[in-house]
Symmetry: none
Subunit: 242 residues, 2 copies
Amino acid sequence: MADLVYRKVFNDLKDKIVKNEFPNKRLPDERSLSEEYQVSRSSVKRALKVLADEGIIFKKRGSGTFINPLYMKNKTIFHYEGSNLGITDSLKSQGKTPKIKLLSFKVVPANKEIQQDLFLSEGDFVYEIQRLRLFDDQPFMIETGYIPIKIAPELTREIVEKSIFNYVEDTINKSVTRSFLSILASPSNEQDQELLNLKPTEPVGVMEGIFFLDDGTPFEVSNMRLHYRYLRYNTFVMLNDH
Amino acid sequence: MADLVYRKVFNDLKDKIVKNEFPNKRLPDERSLSEEYQVSRSSVKRALKVLADEGIIFKKRGSGTFINPLYMKNKTIFHYEGSNLGITDSLKSQGKTPKIKLLSFKVVPANKEIQQDLFLSEGDFVYEIQRLRLFDDQPFMIETGYIPIKIAPELTREIVEKSIFNYVEDTINKSVTRSFLSILASPSNEQDQELLNLKPTEPVGVMEGIFFLDDGTPFEVSNMRLHYRYLRYNTFVMLNDH
DNA sequence: AAGTGGTCTAGACCACCGC
DNA sequence: CGGTGGTCTAGACCACTTG
């Protein structure tokens, strides 16, 4: 992954942007970058495309490529980038230690809502997994997930305390590649306040989502409640036209 | 726009998918499509990339390209608007009447932050427009926007009480087609509580964004504070791999 | 006119899948 | 092994912006 040409250009440019090595907020033109990195202009374009999709840069035809000023501002430790969600990655990359505390792990019958979300039938069972995620010993997210037992019949506490997605990729040989997410704000409840160290006036950011395997099978429905300072979802939006 | 090669391939394929012209849920391989449409394989790939980004198809290396079996069903269950945001539209569609109450309308010098966000220079002026948006006489959003006067030199209270974007499209003949948005949760402040009828424990959802004209010029930087029950951002997310 | 991003082509080689 | 998608190159021409 990391030794792909466009990936290297992407990583290097992102690095330089973060280190503020383009103080005029402008990147060199594509042809210069192509020369500098000794790669084709197509590969440069591909790298820039990904940067643009993540909202880090934007391009002005005829003018050049510029750094999105919102990207650097008010960066929370934890941020999601549109079309690329990397929970553990984005944490690790900053040299921090993400941890998981397992709050509960059960097998329960799927209720109506979960049946619909995961395309299950009456009588199907799911794992109910509640985890607290920490980041440098600071709790930031309560995550409640439901996974059909028939998709991953051998989940254990040990697996669940680490990465479920990695387990699935290594063992079932399928991968979780996409999801539908809903993002909203909510007042904190007592559990939130206790586990995330919140005052009653402080809210949580909520991300609800369904994760899919690469063959389209719904794999998990998840409800994530985040300390409000740790949620910042950055996205690039195309308005009505294309 | 629609006469781009990859766009035509995209539209044609999407059309065929919707009409169920691939009953085996599988698309022809890229080289055949390239031949069929008499375009390069790169253009086929580009069209397929867009289809995949929209969650309509997925590609399996070594196997082929398949139609996401959930694509049709999902439309009723989720309404994902990622990559297509229409605030007033989505309100109108529910048969409700959106209204705008103008809270303040001034011309002020752009501060450093706004200068950076909108690529302005020292001494440039911007409109500062604060509006309360209502929905069936129920206030749901406080919106503070900054627009360079040099882009829209003739803004008036009358325009600002309606749609700024429509004015821009009709008059300047440019359109607002893209934005970068950051979405987060925040405790409500006193103004929020008063204008949005919130209790102190109830939060707001915040959307900060820069809106761009179709030529890439930053047009407006906007801060939107929404009653938490009215913010729900739905999006389709591709995870780490492609 | 020069510079910059956008689109498109043609072709090469690689990596993975299934028979 | 053949078929498929993934990556990459080199170069052409177009469309828009800026001085």
